[in-house]
């Protein structure tokens, strides 16, 4: 056959604050995968390892406050001091914050979570507490965001597939760029 430009798979990110059960994930994730989606999970409370095994997830990440906000440690002492200070401040703030807010802060600070969210085409809140972090994260890049996997499945069934240029073609205005997730 001739070379074909294949659309890249849709990337779905599941966000959960309460530890999900296997039953809650098994059929929904299988349905997403069956539609050709790449599914990743950001979970504030990690369930037992066997819950996530063999689900077909492309990866998962725990949403906890990381010490560093950069993918690689910078050598600049100023940067390292700022990171340490901001970590301590956020720890203090977290004590007085709800779980949803803590999950959002963790997602915003963690470079690997940020990378996952940057590529996301669809965000899904798995539980009621996860609605808040998803709501905040969805505002950043105007990513479609849903409460529950069924709505995300309907979205995938009705929306156009992610084209090869879908992510790249997304226009970034100055205002949106200012809202970009940063450390």
């Amino acid at each position: 056959m001739s070379p074909r430009v294949t659309p890249r798979p849709v990337r779905v990110v599941l966000v959960g604050v309460v530890a999900p059960t296997r039953t809650a994930l098994e059929i929904p994730v299988a349905a997403l995968v069956a539609r050709g989606a790449e599914v990743r999970a950001l979970l504030h409370t990690l369930p037992e390892a066997r819950v996530l095994e063999g689900l077909g997830l492309h990866g998962h990440r725990r949403l906890v406050l990381t010490r560093s906000s950069r993918a690689e440690q910078t050598r600049l002492p100023v940067r390292r001091v700022l990171d340490a200070v901001s970590y301590r401040v956020l720890r203090l703030l977290d004590r007085r914050s709800s779980t949803g807010v803590r999950a959002f802060r963790a997602a915003r600070r963690d470079p690997r979570s940020r990378a996952i969210l940057r590529d996301a085409d669809v965000l899904v809140a798995l539980d009621r507490v996860a609605v808040y972090p998803v709501w905040r994260l969805a505002r950043v890049r105007r990513t479609p965001a849903f409460y529950g996997v069924p709505a995300a499945l309907r979205h995938l069934d009705t929306a156009a597939p992610a084209g090869p240029l879908a992510a790249g073609a997304r226009r970034t205005t100055g205002r949106e760029a200012g809202q970009g997730v940063s450390g």
Partner: protein, 1023 residues
């Protein structure tokens, strides 16, 4: 006789949607234009038309270059979808599915069927998007291209198995499940016209070039006194009248310009008079002619379409407006199964109420003259005893390679065996895959040397077949094979392959005796050799019997009367015509939130109620909410609409539950940050218009919408079916504004707490006052069981005489028999099942699961057994993710599983996999539940796991395979599981039959009909 009887009319018609842009621009010029920034946009826009043109001209390599380049440069989902579809079509044109050597540079590998489906899905999505914004022409183009992709001939007509040949393949789902396709086959009320009373019916026979099977039909019609005109729409008289398929598809989707073009075509002088005069229009082969006829045949004239086998694999049946077709003729039982499986508009569930009547009438075969007197092959020709004939062989669908394999097998035993190929020689196919297949066949024929004899086309088949003792049908699919039947009638001994493309749908055994049918070349050779080993007289007797079978089943004298009964029925019953005085029919307005296509259990009761009223001569208008609102709860099941009488009018009001909105981006900060507080506040506000949370705000829209329906056409009766209870306010409102009497189908009641077994609210509360007010004005109140009825008679003594019981029941008319045929296998363990919404409390479910685990420890058969839950667990965002789901997940180690919801069509198959059923119900004496009726209809042992007393007991009393533990405790239920396993293993056929007999009285319409009859008597008198 004609040896080349089956001309493959499968045409891969290209859409010609940009006829203005031809291929004057060469591929080279286009490539230069696309490199230039100034002309790139225009060039990209022209790319699809250019590719279509190049493909039509067979310049596939250039077309592929253009498509690949355009795909790299193009933006816009529509253009990408269209180009992607074209790329797949070009690949399929060039791809060899027969595994032959690649002869063309462009073809290197088999088509990736997943890529084909993905392209079709992308096109169907594009069609839906276009439709959503009113671009019907673009939607039709995308849909048509998607169908062409999925039904490309190289996927279905070469010697690889067609994806449609497997029932479970869901090959066409990407298209048939799209909104555009659904729109194409929406059932719309058909225009009526008065049939003219004529002594001599005038029949117009329409063909699209292939009139091969019409000779006998025409003779028969003339013999029956009909005035017959034949019109070949691709012949010189009317060539060019029928618009291109793309125009027909656009017209079917309602595009005004295309409709006008079709109208002009029907007014063309060549056809206008013929269409106007005909009482009956018969279209042979479901080609573009059938699509066109379904658009232009005048109201009042009958339209009959006859399908053969190739159409099941073609696009046109998906474009025909089947609601305009009166009768469909299929030429074999196996083809009926296939076509009705492949074309959703002809599915049995869809045509059961409304739609065309479907008949199976074989092609009549002219077998005049005396039957053969058992001629002995060896006496007929010198080599006949070792000659196998294949009649009409030169097409991929006839699969001559398979016949050559049979010859190889025979020659392994005796090199004197020959293959006689009768029929026209193979013309050079247009596309490379067909050319390669032909080349392979010719190579094998040449290699066989004298063992293969080609006779060419002959007008005298019996004479040619004097040289053959056996006839072989090697086709991939057949109706019954007219030429094959002629050969059998001429005295050849029959051997027929179990045609693989229709094997799952009945195959050859559906039309011929089983001993004729073989599944492999080895089996075929074995049958031929076994027959050859018989004495001459036995062979002669077998041949005579085979000929008699063919004459009895397919001879003109046997078949033609049946066909004429369909084409020109002696007298149409008055009931089929226009009913006089439609306005005189009583009118029911039925407020039924949850009416199909909502995938809710209440949908079955509602559709049965509406259908029963229609059956009694009422016009029914159902008022419900926007169907897409159900996506937010348990979802939609569009197939439920097929069970609704097409005469029922459905009005959908723009309402949906705001609290279930899953679009997080639309949430306010307060809702996102404090979801629980938001819900609490929202519920308080909801009760301001009407004292019911969530649904209270719907009151005004429901009242106004229903009132508008009644004002549009006055109603003789208003029927409301809460929940939601806000519909009670509608009943009162409409009564006050229009004076329409109303009835409340109260089902589970409101003030009765069906789970807590007391009253849900007192009579002096706001809800209590509303209930009293509305029920006081009701003509009748229906509940689902006697305890609820007794509650209301006691609460409102003045209403006692108006309270009736209309039980639920199982639906016998869903098209499936629920009776389970499976027999238990104690060695493998038993399968216990639960089917229905798992709406127990987690504590109740935990108790059931604990009892199951304890029973597995106690009983060795149960230790090997499984307990499966099917149905919804949680709704909306929590679908499959609530507390009950966690309980089931934890019990996985004890053989407990959850299998997800079950579609209506799979209910019978799901029960069929189980040995016993678990009836776990919430509530007590007020809760009957719908599943108890369905459970009983299976005839399986049923274990009760609910409180006692319980309303389900009244229904189960007398069910011979009912296991009733004395209490709802772990120990009692554990013993119940053990006892159920014992009953499973000991139940006899008689026990199961007695169980089903007990259930039969609970069929739903039997339960509802007395109440509907009572209402019909009181309110159904013609005004």
């Amino acid at each position: 006789m004609h040896a080349d009887v089956h001309t493959d009319t499968h045409t891969d018609t290209h859409t010609d949607t940009h006829a203005d842009v031809r291929t004057e621009m060469s591929a080279g010029a286009w490539l230069r234009a696309v490199d230039d920034d100034r002309t790139r946009t225009a060039a990209l826009r022209q790319a699809p038309s250019l590719v279509d043109g190049l493909r039509r001209e067979g310049r596939h390599a250039q077309a592929l270059d253009v498509v690949a380049r355009a795909l790299r440069q193009a933006r816009g989902a529509d253009l990408l979808a269209r180009l992607g579809g074209q790329q797949v079509l070009l690949d399929l044109d060039l791809t060899d599915t027969s595994g032959g050597a690649a002869a063309d540079a462009g073809a290197a590998e088999d088509p990736d069927r997943a890529a084909v489906r993905a392209a079709a899905r992308t096109l169907a999505d594009a069609a839906d998007r276009a439709l959503a914004v009113g671009r019907t022409a673009a939607a039709a183009d995308h849909l048509l291209q998607a169908l062409h992709v999925l039904l490309h001939r190289s996927l279905h007509t070469l010697d690889a198995p067609s994806p449609l040949s497997r029932k479970e393949s869901g090959w066409l789902d990407p298209v048939t499940r799209s909104a555009a396709y659904t729109r194409l086959h929406l059932r719309t009320p058909r225009a009526t016209g008065t049939p003219d009373a004529r002594d001599r019916p005038r029949v117009l026979l329409l063909t699209d070039g292939n009139a091969h099977f019409l000779g006998e039909v025409e003779k028969g019609l003339v013999g029956a006194g009909a005035s017959v005109t034949r019109l070949d729409l691709s012949g010189p008289r009317a060539d060019g009248v029928v618009p291109a398929p793309a125009v027909l598809a656009r017209a079917r989707l309602g595009d005004p310009a295309a409709r006008a073009a079709v109208g002009v075509s029907a007014a063309a002088p060549e056809v206008a008079a013929l269409l106007d005069e005909a009482d009956t229009v018969v279209v042979d082969w479901c080609t573009a002619a059938a699509v066109w006829a379904s658009l232009v045949v005048r109201p009042g004239a009958r339209l009959v379409v006859r399908l053969h086998s190739v159409e099941a694999f073609s696009v046109e049946p998906h474009l025909v407006d089947w609601s305009r077709v009166d009768d469909v003729v299929l030429v074999g039982g196996q083809l009926e199964s296939l076509v009705r499986h492949v074309v959703p508009a002809l599915a049995p569930a869809r045509t059961r109420r409304g739609g065309p009547r479907v008949h199976v009438v074989p092609n009549p075969v002219a077998l005049d003259g005396p039957p053969p007197d058992g001629r002995v092959p060896s006496a007929a020709g010198p080599d006949a005893a070792r000659t196998v004939a294949v009649v009409g062989w030169a097409q991929p669908v006839k699969d001559p390679l398979w016949a050559l394999e049979v010859l190889d097998e025979l020659r392994r035993h005796d090199p004197r065996w020959r293959l006689l190929l009768v029929g026209a020689d193979w013309t050079e196919p247009q596309l490379p895959p067909g050319r390669r297949y032909r080349a392979e066949v010719l190579r094998r024929i040449a290699a066989a040397g004298d063992a293969v004899v080609r006779t060419g086309w002959t007008a005298d088949l019996p004479e040619v077949l004097r040289d053959a003792g056996y006839v072989l049908s090697s086709s991939r699919r057949e109706s019954h094979g007219v030429a094959f039947c002629e050969a059998v009638a001429a005295g050849c001994l029959p051997v027929t392959r179990d045609w693989p493309d229709v094997a799952e749908f009945g195959g050859a055994a559906a039309v011929f005796p089983a001993e004729w049918v073989v599944r492999s070349p080895q089996e075929a050779a074995a049958r031929v050799l076994a027959l050859a080993a018989e004495p001459d007289d036995v062979r002669a007797r077998t041949a005579a019997e085979a000929a008699a079978v063919v004459r009895a089943r397919y001879g003109t004298t046997a078949v033609l009367p049946r066909l004429l009964d369909v084409l020109v029925p002696a007298a149409r019953s008055a009931a089929d015509g226009v009913r006089p005085g439609d306005d005189a029919r009583p009118h029911l307005v039925y407020v039924a939130i949850g009416f199909p296509p909502a995938a809710k259990s209440s949908a079955y009761r509602m559709r049965a109620t509406a259908n029963l009223f229609v059956d009694r001569g009422w016009d029914v208008t159902v008022v419900t909410i926007d169907r897409h609102a159900w996506d937010l709860e348990y979802g939609l099941d569009l197939s439920l609409l097929d069970l609704v009488d097409p005469r029922v009018r459905i009005v959908e009001l723009p309402l949906r539950r705001a609290d279930l909105d899953p679009d997080v981006r639309a949430y306010s900060w307060f809702r996102a940050k404090h979801p629980t507080r938001w819900v609490r506040l929202r519920h308080r506000l909801d009760t301001i218009p009407f004292p019911e949370k969530v649904f209270g705000p719907w009151r005004r829209t429901l009242e106004r919408g229903t009132e508008a329906v009644v004002r549009d056409r006055p109603a003789d009766l208003l029927l409301v079916s809460p929940a939601p209870y806000t519909t009670l306010a509608v009943a009162r409102h409409v009564r006050r504004r229009t004076g329409t009497p109303y009835v409340v189908d109260f089902r589970d009641g409101w003030s009765v707490d069906v789970l807590g077994e007391g009253e849900a609210f007192g009579p002096r509360t706001r809800r209590g006052r509303w209930e009293r007010r509305v029920l006081a004005g009701a003509e009748a109140v229906c509940t689902v069981n006697e305890p609820i009825a007794a509650f209301y008679r006691e609460r409102y003594p003045e209403l006692a005489s108006r309270v009736h019981v209309a039980r639920n029941g199982f639906d016998a008319d869903l098209g499936t028999d629920l009776a389970v045929a499976r027999r238990p296998d104690p060695a493998a363990g038993l399968a216990f099942g639960y089917l229905g919404t798992v709406n127990l409390t987690p504590a109740h479910l935990s108790l059931v699961v604990d009892a199951w685990a304890a029973a597995r420890e106690q009983d060795e058969v149960l230790a090997r057994s499984t307990l499966t839950f099917r149905g919804h667990v949680g709704a909306g965002w929590a679908a499959g993710a609530n507390g009950n789901a966690a309980v089931i997940a934890r019990a996985g180690v004890h053989g407990v599983t959850y299998g997800g919801p079950v579609a209506k069509a799979d209910v019978a198959a799901t029960y069929g996999r189980w040995d016993a059923l678990l009836l776990a119900l919430a509530g007590g004496r007020f809760v009957t539940s719908g599943k108890v009726y369905e459970y009983m209809a299976t005839g399986l042992p049923v274990l009760s796991a609910h409180e006692m007393p319980h309303a389900a007991q009244d229904v189960l009393e007398g069910y011979p395979l009912w296991v009733r533990p004395p209490a709802l405790t772990v120990e009692a239920l554990r013993d119940g599981f053990v006892e159920t396993a014992r009953r499973v293993l000991s139940a006899s056929e008689d026990d199961r039959a007695a169980a089903r007999d007990h259930a039969s009285r609970f069929e739903r319409s039997l339960q509802l009909d007395p109440v509907v009859a009572m209402l019909d008597d009181r309110f159904g008198a013609v005004r």
